[in-house]
C-alpha cells in the first residue's frame, strides 16, 4: 500500500514538475496549411518558423522563458481557421499568434484574434482586409498592390521597357498584384498590350503562349506561384519568346528553377528576400535554413521566420504577458530581420523596400532594390 502510494506520489510530483516547466513556456499560436493545395508553402512556413524559434530559445529565450509554437493545420481554408483561432486562444492560451497561411484563412482568423485582443501577425498573406480587422493585426509582408506597383517601376524605370503583356493568376494574390501593377503602369507610362488570366490549377499555357508570341510585347508581367510560373516560363522559352519575364514573390523558390530548368535564366522577380544581402541576419537565415531543413531558403520560409522574430522582439521589449503591452511593442517595432528592416504603419502594414532578384546560373541572385517610400506606401488608416 505504502509503496503504491509512494509511487503514485512520485508520479504526481513529476507531473507537477513537468506541468510547471510547461507553464513557464511562452506559447505562440501558428496556423499553417500542412495538407491540401497549399501544403508546399505550409511546410516552408513551418520550417522557417521553427528555425526562428530554435534560434531564439538557444540564445536564452525571452528573458529566460522558452518560446513554444502551437501548430495547427488550417488547410488554407477559412472554415478550419476560425475554430483553430478560437482553440489557440481559449484552450492553448497562446499569448500571441502568427499566420503561416494564405489570405482566406488568415482573414477569417484575424477577426477572432482581434475580438479577443490577441496580437496576430500575418507572415505572407496578401489580402488588404487582413490588417483592417483591427489594431491587434499586423503584416510583415507586402500587400499585393504594393508589389504590383514595384513591378511597374522595375519595368518602366529600371529596365526601361514599355509594351507589356500581363498574365494574371486568377486568385486573390494575382488579382491584387494586377490591380497594383495597373496603377503603376499609368505612373511609369507602360502600355499594356494584352492581358490574360489563368487558374491556379493550370499548368499548360499553350494557347496563351501562342497568343503572346503574336502580340510581340517588350516584356511579360506574369503573376503566379513557382508551380504555375515554372511551367509557364519554360513553355514561353520553348516557343522562342525571349523577352524578359517579370514575376513576384510567388516565384521565390528554388523549385521554380528546378521546374523551368535552363529556361528560368534571367527571370526577374520582386520579393522580400535578398540572397546576396550584406545584412548578417539575412545571410545567417539562409545558411541556417539550408542546414536545418535541407531545403533552399525561399520567401515563405523567410517571411515566417521574420514574423516570429518580430513577435519575439516585441515580447522581449514588452517584458510582460500583458497582450495590450505586446501589441504596442509590435506596433513600434524597429527590427532588422531576414526579410529586411521592419517597421509598421498605423494600420499594422510593414514598411520596407522591395528586393529584386534574378535567376543567374541556376540560383536566385541580387538584381536591384526598389526603395521608394511613396510608391511603396502600404494602405494606412
Amino acid at each position: 500500500m505504502t509503496l503504491r502510494n509512494g509511487i503514485l506520489g512520485t508520479v504526481i510530483g513529476m507531473g507537477l514538475v513537468v506541468a510547471s516547466a510547461h507553464a513557464d513556456n511562452i506559447k505562440i499560436g501558428f496556423n499553417v496549411p500542412l495538407t491540401g493545395f497549399a501544403a508546399a508553402d505550409g511546410l516552408s512556413a513551418r520550417n522557417g518558423a521553427e528555425l526562428a524559434l530554435e534560434q531564439i530559445n538557444s540564445s536564452g529565450g525571452i528573458n529566460g522563458d522558452m518560446l513554444e509554437l502551437v501548430v495547427y493545420d488550417d488547410q488554407a481554408s477559412p472554415k478550419e481557421a476560425v475554430p483553430i483561432a478560437q482553440k489557440l486562444i481559449e484552450k492553448d492560451n497562446v499569448i500571441a499568434a502568427v499566420s503561416g497561411s494564405y489570405s482566406g484563412s488568415t482573414r477569417a482568423a484575424a477577426g477572432i484574434f482581434q475580438e479577443s485582443g490577441v496580437p496576430y501577425i500575418s507572415a505572407y498573406a496578401i489580402h488588404p482586409d487582413i490588417t483592417r480587422a483591427g489594431d491587434y493585426v499586423f503584416r510583415t509582408s507586402f500587400v499585393g498592390e504594393v508589389q504590383g506597383r514595384a513591378g511597374a517601376k522595375l519595368i518602366g524605370e529600371t529596365l526601361g521597357l514599355k509594351k507589356v503583356a500581363v498574365v494574371t493568376l486568377k486568385n486573390d494574390f494575382g488579382q491584387s498584384l494586377a490591380a497594383g501593377f495597373k496603377e503603376g503602369a499609368e505612373i511609369f507610362g507602360l502600355e499594356i498590350v494584352a492581358e490574360y488570366e489563368y487558374s491556379i490549377k493550370d499548368r499548360q499555357f499553350g494557347p496563351i503562349v501562342s497568343k503572346i508570341r503574336a502580340d510581340k510585347p517588350d516584356v511579360i508581367y506574369a503573376s503566379g506561384y513557382f508551380f504555375t510560373a515554372g511551367p509557364l516560363v519554360s513553355q514561353l522559352r520553348a516557343a522562342g519568346i525571349d523577352v524578359p519575364v517579370i514575376g513576384q514573390e510567388g516565384y521565390d523558390s528554388q523549385k521554380f528553377i528546378d521546374i523551368a530548368g535552363a529556361a528560368s535564366e534571367g527571370t526577374i522577380i520582386t520579393t522580400s528576400l535578398d540572397r546576396d544581402s550584406s545584412a548578417a541576419e539575412t545571410q545567417d537565415f539562409i545558411a541556417s535554413f539550408e542546414e536545418s531543413s535541407g531545403q533552399k531558403a525561399d520567401m515563405v520560409a523567410a517571411s515566417a521566420h521574420t514574423a516570429i522574430k518580430v513577435l519575439a522582439a516585441a515580447l522581449q521589449s514588452a517584458g510582460t504577458s500583458d497582450r495590450k503591452a505586446i501589441r504596442d511593442a509590435i506596433a513600434t517595432t524597429k527590427l532588422t530581420a531576414s526579410t529586411g528592416d521592419i517597421s509598421f504603419n498605423d494600420l499594422g502594414e510593414v514598411q520596407k523596400s522591395v528586393q529584386v532578384q534574378v535567376v543567374k546560373d541556376g540560383q536566385w541572385r541580387h538584381h536591384s532594390v526598389i526603395d521608394d517610400p511613396k510608391l511603396l506606401a502600404p494602405p494606412s488608416e
Binding site: 492581358e195 489563368y198 499553350g206 494557347p207
Partner: protein
C-alpha cells in the same frame, strides 16, 4: 496562323484528355462505375515516369515501367475496391472512388513531399519551326504521336485479337458473352490494366510537358475526365475521343477570347451543360 496554332494547342490538350478519359470510358462501359480514382493512377504514372527517368536516364524505360506498374495497380484497385461493390447502388462506388482518390493524393504528398518532383534532365526539350512562326515542341509532337499510336493499337487489339473480341462482346452484352464462354473476370482485369496503363502514359507525358509532378496533379483530371465521358455519351469510345478533342479545342480558344469572362473549368462545364440540355444522352450516346 494564330488560329492554326490555337487549334493545334487544343489538339495537344485533347490528346491528353483522350488518353485519360479512355480508361474511364472502358470502366464505365463495362461496370457502370464513375471511376474518379483513375486520376490518381494518372498522377502515379507521372511519379513513376520522373523517378525512373531520373534514376536510369532512360525515358523509354520509364514509360514502360510506368505502364506496367500503374496497370497492375489499376487491376488491384478493381479487385480490392470495386469488385465487392458491384451490386450496390452506383453512388456507393462513386463515393468510395472519391475517397480512394483523396487518400492517394495524401499518400503522394506524404511519400514524395508537397513540393513535387521534376525531371533532372528533362528529355525532348526544344522544338522546330514548321512554317514561319509556327513552332512545334518535341514534347507536344510526342504527345500527339503517342496518343495516335496508342489509339490505333487499341483499335487493332479490340478488332483483331481473340481477347479483344471477347472484350467487346462483354461490353455489349455480358450475359451473352458469358454464354459463349468468355471469362468475364479476365476481361475486367484486362480492362483495368489497359485503362490504367493509358492513364500512366498520360501522366508521364504531362509530367514532361510541365516538368512537374505534384500530389494534386490529378485533381483537374478527376472531374474533367468525368465531364468528357458524359459529354461523349458514357461508355462510347468514339464519343469520348470526339468530346476530348472538342473540349481541348474549346478551352484553347476560350482561354484567349473569353478567358476574362469564365475560367477554363467553367468554360468546359458550361459547354457540357448546353450539350446535355440539347442532347441528354451525350454526343454519341444512345437511349
Amino acid at each position: 496562323m494564330l488560329y492554326l496554332e490555337l487549334l493545334f494547342q487544343g489538339i495537344v490538350q485533347g490528346s491528353i484528355y483522350a488518353l485519360i478519359a479512355l480508361g474511364l470510358t472502358l470502366v464505365y462501359g463495362l461496370l457502370r462505375i464513375l471511376h474518379v480514382a483513375h486520376a490518381a493512377l494518372f498522377t502515379l504514372g507521372g511519379y513513376v515516369g520522373v523517378i525512373v527517368t531520373n534514376a536510369t536516364g532512360s525515358f523509354t524505360l520509364a514509360m514502360v515501367v510506368a505502364m506496367i506498374t500503374v496497370g497492375l495497380i489499376g487491376v488491384l484497385t478493381y479487385k480490392l475496391a470495386y469488385e465487392p461493390l458491384l451490386d450496390k447502388p452506383p453512388f456507393i462506388a462513386l463515393i468510395a472512388s472519391i475517397a480512394l482518390f483523396i487518400a492517394a493524393e495524401e499518400v503522394f504528398r506524404i511519400v514524395f513531399g508537397p513540393y513535387g518532383l521534376s525531371y533532372a534532365q528533362p528529355p525532348l526539350q526544344g522544338g522546330f519551326e514548321i512554317i514561319n512562326g509556327f513552332f512545334l515542341k518535341y514534347a507536344e509532337a510526342l504527345v500527339i504521336c503517342i496518343s495516335v499510336v496508342m489509339l490505333l493499337l487499341l483499335g487493332w487489339f479490340s478488332a483483331y485479337t481473340r481477347l479483344g473480341v471477347s472484350w467487346r462482346a462483354t461490353v455489349t452484352d455480358p450475359d451473352m458473352a458469358r454464354a459463349f464462354g468468355v471469362n468475364i473476370q479476365n476481361v475486367r482485369y484486362l480492362n483495368f490494366f489497359v485503362g490504367s496503363a493509358l492513364a500512366a502514359v498520360a501522366g508521364v507525358l504531362v509530367a514532361l510537358l510541365n516538368n512537374l509532378v505534384e500530389p494534386t496533379m490529378g485533381s483537374v483530371a478527376s472531374y474533367k475526365a468525368l465531364a468528357i465521358i458524359v459529354l461523349g455519351g458514357l461508355g462510347s469510345i468514339r464519343g469520348t475521343l470526339i468530346a476530348s478533342m472538342a473540349l481541348g479545342v474549346i478551352e484553347s480558344f476560350g482561354t484567349i477570347y473569353i478567358g476574362h469572362l469564365l475560367d477554363r473549368d467553367a468554360l468546359a462545364f458550361g459547354f457540357l451543360i448546353i450539350v446535355l440540355m440539347v442532347r441528354p444522352q451525350g454526343l454519341l450516346g444512345s437511349k
